[in-house]
């Protein structure tokens, strides 16, 4: 977890002055952005949530919200998130390298410009609305005597085909979202269970050893298998630091007693979260 950001005081609130102290980076936000765009900091290893938290801390400390900067920040973070998710979801590793730093920078710039344009346009709209202050429209319905004469549209004036067309539109499945990254589970939990049990019989081992150079899907399925073993009371795990390796060992009194909830390390939700963080780190590599 990151420590609180150090904020240079006295400066105008710009993103350039937002100092970050994160696990993989410490320095101003601008620099981080540059390094990400130059691919000198791996976006996959960067916790964007920590960046957001640092920014919120920063805001809280200053006690004021500069909308201009806040909007810019949101647009940039959103773009980084999208970039990151694209990186995480690419099927082929080569595609990762397809986004040139310049291209990524141009994309971010285009986003910022778009956001600025529409923010300015929205200010203009608000001015227009204010200028129309006090202009009201009559909402009273026409008198009943005149309303009574409203004639029904002539019979057969609507084409039934438009109903069929509407139905066809509703039946249309949206184009399939690319789900290659979650594709067919070629690897089953059963297989990974057998694999892990084989390793457990020999003693302790690490998650890295268990998955080797396997693809992300295998890592994920292995993790599920590990959770299953934990649930069955066959294995336990520890992780010294987040994103560190996970060491797995046979549960001392396996099959005899369920895991005790008060143990120091690697239990329940926290243990699972840690294991997940480890798997994520593994997947990122």
């Amino acid at each position: 977890m990151s420590s609180a950001p150090i904020v240079s005081s006295g400066e105008p609130t710009t993103l350039a002055t937002l100092e970050l102290d994160l696990d993989v980076f410490s320095g101003p936000f601008d620099l981080l952005l540059t390094l990400v765009l130059r691919q000198e900091v791996d976006l996959l290893e960067l916790s964007l949530a920590d960046v957001v938290l640092a920014y919120l801390d920063h805001l809280e400390r200053r006690g004021e919200l500069d909308l201009e900067t806040a909007t810019e920040f949101i647009v940039l973070i959103a773009a980084l998130l999208e970039l990151k998710s694209r990186l995480m979801l690419t099927g082929e590793e080569e595609e990762l390298l397809d986004i040139e730093p310049e291209q990524a920078a141009e994309e971010l710039l285009a986003r910022m410009l778009d956001a600025r344009r529409f923010r300015s346009a929205s200010a203009h709209l608000r001015q227009l609305l204010a200028a129309e202050h006090g202009v009201r429209f009559r909402t009273a319905p026409p008198p009943a005597s005149l309303r009574r004469s409203i004639v029904a549209p002539p019979p057969g004036s609507q084409d039934p085909q438009q109903l069929g067309a509407a139905m066809g539109r509703l039946l249309l499945m949206p184009p399939e979202i690319n789900v290659l990254h979650i594709a067919v589970p070629r690897i089953t939990v059963g297989e990974r269970l057998a694999h892990l049990r084989g390793l457990l019989r020999r003693g302790s081992f690490s998650l890295d050893e268990a998955v080797g150079d396997a693809d992300r899907m295998t890592v994920a399925v292995t993790l599920f298998a590990l959770l299953e073993l934990y649930k069955l009371g066959e294995a336990d795990w520890e992780q010294a630091e987040s994103f560190g390796d996970v060491s797995i060992h046979p549960f001392a009194s396996a099959r005899a007693a369920p895991p005790r909830p008060d143990r120091e390390q690697g239990h329940g939700g926290a243990g699972q979260r840690r294991a997940l963080a480890g798997a994520r780190a593994g997947a990122a590599r």
Binding site: R136, R138, T139, A140, P141, P142, P143, L146, R147, S149, I150, V151, A152, P153, P154, P155, G156, S157, Q158, D159, P160, Q161, Q162, L163, G164, A165, A166, M167, G168, R169, L170, L171, L172, M173, P174, I177
Partner: protein, 201 residues
């Protein structure tokens, strides 16, 4: 126009009173006008006199009337024929996409509840349903087992679309490459609706 001093005094107030009468659907009493304008009732009555002069019969297309203890603006009876022609134009001759979709869902799947329509469309169908009800194209048809109101198409629907019976609705097969049973039509619509709702997020 002859009472020049009165006009000069009453003019701003008369304008405000005129605006209030214009905006209000119901007659306004001198007291209500006095409260809203923060003027005395006597001043309001003087302003109303100025307006009565300006709106004297034959001068404008709008009349000032004293009605039910208050004043109100109404259209001039001379304009009645034109008003009838204006208001009797078939209202909303074309259905909006939302209305067409809602109507199609009811026509093909009736009876059907609003929550189910919403699920199929992926967005609320409340305003479209209200308009279709108001125009008599759909009507209520009891309650579902969960208590939601069910809708079906009515006589007006068949008339407007020139259909003798519901069997004459266009064959879905034309828009659907894999025609299935009606029961499955509902399933497929719901699946597509959920996929759309998912894609929106």
């Amino acid at each position: 126009m002859s009472a020049v001093p009165a006009a000069v005094d009453a003019a701003p107030l008369a304008r405000t009173v005129e605006a209030l009468l214009f905006l209000s659907a119901d007659p306004l009493s001198a007291g209500e006008l006095a409260d809203a304008t923060e003027a005395g009732e006597a001043a309001v009555l003087a302003a109303l006199a100025v307006l009565a002069e300006q709106y004297a019969p034959g001068r404008r297309g709008i009349r000032l009337r004293e009605l039910g203890g208050g004043w109100t603006l109404t259209s001039d009876p001379d304009a009645e024929d034109a008003a009838r022609r204006l208001l009797s134009r078939p209202r909303l001759a074309t259905l909006t996409p939302a209305q067409a979709e809602t109507l199609a869902i009811v026509a093909y799947l009736q009876p059907i509840s609003r929550p189910e329509i919403t699920r199929i469309r992926g967005v609320s169908a409340d305003s479209a349903t209200a308009t279709l009800l108001e125009r008599g194209l759909i009507e209520e048809a009891g309650h579902s087992q969960f208590g939601a109101i069910l809708y079906r198409t009515g006589i007006q629907f068949l008339k407007l679309f020139g259909l003798r019976t519901l069997d004459e609705l266009p064959d879905i097969a034309r828009w659907d490459p894999s025609p299935e049973e009606q029961a499955q039509l509902r399933e497929r619509l719901l699946r597509a609706g959920e996929a759309r709702a998912g894609a929106e997020r």
